[in-house]
Amino acid sequence: MTGAAVVVRGLHKHYGETRAVDGLDLQVESGEVFAVLGPNGAGKTTTVEILEGHRHRDSGEVSVLGVDPARADRNWRSRIGIVLQDAGDQAELTVSEVIRHFAEYYPTPRDADEVIDAVGLTEKAGTRTRQLSGGQRRRLDVALGIVGRPELLFLDEPTTGFDPEARRAFWELIRGLRKDGTTILLTTHYLDEAENLADRVAVIRDGRVLALDTPKNLGGRAASEATVRWIEDGTHRELATSAPTRVVSELTARLAGPSGEVSGLEVIRPSLEDVYLTLIGEPLPVAATKEDLS
């Protein structure tokens, strides 16, 4: 599989006066994990639900696995997997029953027991779903999203309510799916999740993409100045530089004793969180503001 799994050009979706999605462009390549970050109300869920075929768009071009989701058929639905944000359905069925049942919908499903095991619900297989904890329920949702062996998996805030251990296990699961060639589009509030999982990240605010890059480079993160800190003559020193490696080697030559160590040496790059907060805190670009007023 090569080429783009998802192509979005100039997507608009308005609810009355509210522009939930306002000229959004993005492209998800086949086989990558693509994370959509953004504050509440940024348009993440609306966008993803348009891509899933759950919502209609007002305008713009959308292609998902080569098909317009507004004209989706059964064959297309068998190639995607969807993990919605909130669900408490099928309360009276057991974990195993729900997963086996949903597997029947697909032409080439995964083995139900394997899926149950993969999401760590083997011990809960015989439990009615209404008795599951929030995190277990969420893992069931993920299981139902992957049981059909999708080429493209949508995950809308998949790890909300997970404890740190379950989140790590979930990340492993996603990495495994990626290794199998599944394209994954996920929305998340958690920056560490995006940083750990995603090949590329889009930051969305006010229904449009503010930045789109690898987690390492997002918002010019790799190119931006690093801070070098060290201790010299008993005082803390700090230098902002675009060439931290050179600074460190100079410091080493000048200050390192026989041990080869520079006392208190630290090189600090802006975290993804710093970049993200800067991005979503920025005022709207001038051009966009003009468009809003016209």
Binding site: R79, Y105, D180
Partner: protein, 286 residues
């Protein structure tokens, strides 16, 4: 957690499962959920049996019905049975779907299904299967209780059972499509039973299920005649009463043709409205 096996299959070359096969699969899970839910067990499935037991016990001392009519008199339990059959059909078809579907819409079940390759037709086949199986079991239980506990005679003539069959099938179909059509009225899953149950209750009271229909004021009879439950109850009376008892009907007749016409009209209306109004997502969620 373990890794998923890397077996890759070309999806396009394998056929999607058939609509009918998935309809049967849906019926299975619908029935599991129906029989595991306490609400649907007590207020839908067992309700007619419980009511029959209460009424047949309480009113047994008030004497029999229709002493002067050939084939009569009949016990109060027997008088009450057809109304409970009609009620059972209405509860299991109309009430259960009109409550179940808004709940499924609200809790995301419908949206989840919409995101899978399951065809819509399979979903509705599953509902039909649920209603048919649940009501057949429900009525069988009602007949056993009537016969064994209250010695109520059941018809033996094939003609009576033929009437039962068409009234039952038409009534079930009518109740099911109306349940689907009505499911768009409650604004949320939580309010569904509060909206549906009073409608069902009022219909029961004016349709001759709990009272003798002929005892109702004429204007109320005219109102009830608009709705299907009155006709289902009357059709069932024609099955479980001696034929001469049509003398106690308002028009001295079982009015079979009219029963078929009214039920069929509601069936068509329900289909048209249901197809136009059914939605997989919550209101404002599109």
């Amino acid at each position: 957690m373990t890794e998923l096996s890397e077996k890759t299959v070309a999806a396009a070359t394998v056929a999607l499962p058939s609509t009918l096969r998935l309809g049967v699969a849906r019926t299975r899970v619908e029935l599991k959920q129906f029989f595991r839910s306490k609400d649907s067990m007590i207020f839908t499935f067992l309700f007619p049996v419980i009511m029959l037991m209460i009424f047949a016990t309480v009113f047994s001392r008030q004497g029999d019905v229709g002493p002067g009519i050939p084939g009569g008199p009949i016990s109060f339990g027997q008088y009450f049975l057809p109304g409970m059959v009609a009620t059972g059909v209405m509860l299991t078809s109309f009430q259960s779907l009109a409550i179940q579907i808004p709940v499924e819409r609200d809790d995301g079940a419908l949206k989840r299904l919409r995101g899978t390759p399951m065809p819509s037709a399979s979903y509705f086949l599953g509902k039909v299967g649920q209603v048919l199986v649940a009501s057949v079991v429900q009525l069988a239980l009602l007949f056993v209780v009537a016969r064994v506990l209250f010695a109520i005679p059941l018809p033996t003539a094939p003609g009576a059972w033929l009437t039962f069959l068409w009234v039952f099938l038409l009534g079930t179909a009518c109740g099911s499509v109306l349940g689907v059509a009505f499911s768009s009225i409650p604004s949320s899953g939580r309010s569904a039973s509060a909206v549906v149950v009073p409608v069902v209750l009022v219909l029961q009271f004016i349709s001759g299920v709990y009272f003798m229909y002929s005892d109702l004021p004429t204007w109320l009879q005219r109102v009830a005649e608009v709705f299907p439950l009155k006709w289902m109850a009357q059709g069932m009376r024609s099955v479980f009463f001696p034929d001469a008892f049509k003398a106690i009907e308002v028009r001295d007749s079982w009015e079979h043709p009219m029963t078929a016409v009214v039920l069929a009209a509601w069936l068509v209306l329900g289909l048209v409205v249901g197809i136009r109004t059914f939605r997989w997502t919550r209101r404002g969620d599109n």
